[in-house]
């Protein structure tokens, strides 16, 4: 199982590169969905929660993080026919460089923490850090409101990976509450996106500049 987990996680690291470089929203959404699926099955692969309720909970997480959340953003785009192309603030080359720096930093920092619970899986900590910081990068690197929401979801995926794999002391019911909060948050963001589109005829957040001081 050790190799399987690390292989899957290395694909997640590559998917962050894809999300940095891509200028198409559907690609970004698919990347987020993929990451959502991976972070929900990794705890199962590691074997922390192999009780029946644990497996059931992981399946629900998979459903919400991997399918419901990406799908709701996708439908929000489709419904208001927003342009599918986004122009990141940072160019492709700068993003590649940022990715390299991010992976190196994540690997370096991840290496410094010796957590007994995950000592078999060298890529877990770096992936979690990379998802978190990568989400931040996507969030700050776009003026497009949808890409910003996707960056937020990527961050959330990173935090979830930290929470479920490193620590085992939180109950499922509590994790489920967190999941519901995130889901409701994304739904509300999707509603706001649609309203922004109707109000401003676009989702470029540089249109949202009246309240500045």
């Amino acid at each position: 199982m050790t190799h399987l987990v690390d292989t899957v996680l290395s694909i997640v690291l590559l998917s962050i590169l894809l999300s940095f470089g891509s200028s198409r929203l559907p690609v970004l959404i698919r990347v987020i969905g993929f990451q959502g699926i991976v972070v929900s099955i990794v705890p199962l692969l590691i074997g922390h929660n192999l009780s029946a309720s644990g497996i059931a909970f992981n399946l629900v997480t998979l459903l919400i993080r991997g399918i419901v959340i990406p799908l709701s953003i996708y439908l929000a785009i489709k419904k208001v026919a927003i342009r599918r192309e986004v122009e990141p603030i940072f160019g492709q080359h700068a993003s590649m460089l940022a990715w390299l720096g991010l992976i190196a930093a994540a690997a370096f920092i991840g290496d410094r923490f010796n957590l007994p619970a995950i000592s078999n899986h060298v890529l877990l900590m770096p992936t979690a850090i990379a998802l978190l910081a990568g989400g931040m990068f996507v969030l700050m690197g776009h003026r497009n409101a949808i890409a910003m929401v996707l960056g937020y979801i990527m961050m959330e995926n990173g935090i979830y990976l930290v929470g479920t794999t490193f620590s085992t002391s939180v109950h499922h019911i509590v994790e489920f509450g967190i999941l519901l909060d995130v889901l409701a948050g994304v739904m509300i963001m999707a509603v706001i996106l649609q309203n922004i589109k109707q109000q401003f005829d676009g989702v470029d957040t540089s249109l949202l500049r009246t309240l500045k001081e």
Binding site: A117, S169, V170, D181, G185
Partner: protein, 472 residues
């Protein structure tokens, strides 16, 4: 059955969503029931049904009674406000208000670290529709900023909470993941992870509390929301976020890391005060003025908590009195907005003759929030300064006093303009009684609490700050 206090507003909130037209009655009714239930919690300290997740704590009780009293008075104001300002979908407004009350109550009662996070994030979600009530382009922008900045900020607080559970794993501590249990066994927690967790929680909940430089959502949200909602946001939502920081700070102190967490709190507090001072001086809108004043007060509270000792007691006093006075000011700003139809300070003036009863509420509120006696913020700030000096934080106390003076000057300038400028030509306007006396009640409560603190209240405050060394 402690949980019933937040379950009732939750259920009535859902009812208000699906039954349009009943919202106003439900709002007042739920407010009254909630107030009675909160008072009952004070007398009995009952056991919760789910002790793993919820607990009655002194700091929680203090926040709860403030929330309850404020909500009840605001709900009375709201019924009159709704009559005057035809909202398009009133059921969403009243429903969200009730859900907002429910989630905030849950924050005050939660003991489990993650349940606390769930409740605080839920307050963001429940209050987002309130800010978007007017459905204008600017309110949309404010809602977007609010939801995105707070969600990202609070996501960091979730990371912080996870790091604290890691501190348990590394330190081999096997207790429930609750604030009370962790405070009791704080010494065994791994200090490195605990420190990292505290920093993330402070940044995360600090975003929600309105500490600079993460405060950027706050002035927009407070000025765009309808006044009763602004009063709730400023009066009690900020306290809820503070509660998360306060409880984590308690764990840090129990772990012997108070110099680390205290210093960070003081720095964030002073930055917030300085930021508020700069923006208050050249402010053009009165609701934004009040919002920046909230940032200032959150800074004061964070500084006082960081100072510890007398300062911590002062911080709790400031917390209670800020809620009472600031929410009354926001309600009054609703009257001013309805009368003048503009949020700009330069469009107002002559309040003393135009709306004398509103003027009394406004001016007394201004005196209270500016930190003048006989209102409670004065005592709180005095205690914080005394605490800072006695603990040797001379530079911090200096910056604290200077920013207070600057803010006072800026605020006075604006308040005098709104109250007196052009009063000779002003014409008397109609004022509704139920849109004035809730403010009077709030201000009188603050005044009353300065001269006579009930025994049970002062005992509870002392209990809340004992860990921070806040004993006389």
């Amino acid at each position: 059955m402690v949980e019933i206090v937040f379950l009732i507003p939750f259920l009535t909130g859902i009812v208000a969503f699906v039954l349009p037209g009943k919202g106003r009655t439900l709002l007042v009714l739920t407010g009254a029931v909630h107030l009675i239930l909160s008072l009952m919690l004070w007398t009995g300290w009952p056991e919760p049904v789910f002790p793993a997740y919820f607990a009655v704590t002194p700091e929680g009780l203090l926040s709860l009674i403030v929330i309850s009293l404020l909500f009840f008075l605001i709900s009375i104001y709201t019924t009159a406000y709704l009559k005057k300002s035809n909202l398009r979908s009133e059921n969403i407004f009243t429903g969200s208000m009730l859900l907002f009350l429910s989630t905030m109550t849950m924050v005050t009662l939660s003991d489990h670290i993650m349940v606390m996070w769930i409740a605080i994030e839920a307050t963001t979600l429940a209050s987002a529709p309130l800010i978007f009530t007017h459905r204008t382009a600017t309110s949309l922008e404010a809602t977007w900023k609010y939801v995105l900045i707070c969600s990202v900020g609070i996501a960091l607080a979730l990371l912080g909470s996870v790091l604290i559970t890691l501190a348990m794993d590394v330190g081999n501590v096997h207790v429930p993941v609750s604030f009370s249990a962790l405070t009791n066994s704080a010494r065994q927690l791994d200090p490195l992870w605990l420190k990292a967790g505290f920093v993330f929680i402070l940044v995360g909940y600090g975003t929600k509390m309105g500490l600079a430089p993460m405060h950027t959502w706050l002035p927009d949200a407070h000025s765009e929301a309808p006044s009763p909602a602004s009063a709730l946001l400023s009066g009690v939502l900020l306290n809820c976020a503070y509660l998360g920081i306060f409880k984590t700070h308690k764990i840090m102190i129990a772990a012997g890391l108070e110099s680390f967490s205290g210093r960070i709190l003081m720095v964030f507090g002073l930055i917030s005060m300085l930021a508020a001072a700069t923006f208050i001086l050249k402010q053009t809108e009165y609701k934004r003025l009040l919002a920046y004043s909230s940032i200032e007060n959150m800074g004061i509270i964070a500084f006082g908590t960081g100072v510890g000792g007398l300062g911590a007691y002062g911080a709790i006093l400031c917390l209670i009195h800020h809620s009472l006075i600031k929410s009354s000011l926001f309600l009054t700003s609703g009257n001013i907005l309805l009368a003048f139809g503009s949020r700009l300070i330069e469009d107002t003036g002559g309040l003393v003759r135009r709306m004398p009863r509103t003027f009394i509420a406004f001016f007394c509120g201004f005196i209270g929030i500016a930190g003048l006696p006989p209102f409670g913020i004065f005592i709180g700030e005095l205690l914080i300064v005394m605490g800072a000096f006695s603990n040797g934080h001379y530079v911090g106390a200096g910056i604290f006093i200077v920013s207070l003076c600057v803010i006072f000057a800026g605020f006075t300038n604006h308040a005098l303009k709104i109250s007196f400028e052009g009063y000779r030509t002003a014409v008397r306007m109609e004022e509704i009684a139920s849109m004035v006396w809730p403010q009077y009640t709030l201000l009188l409560t603050s005044l009353f609490l300065c001269f006579w603190v009930p025994d049970i209240l002062s005992r509870t405050i002392t209990q809340a700050v004992t860990v921070i060394g806040g004993v006389f």
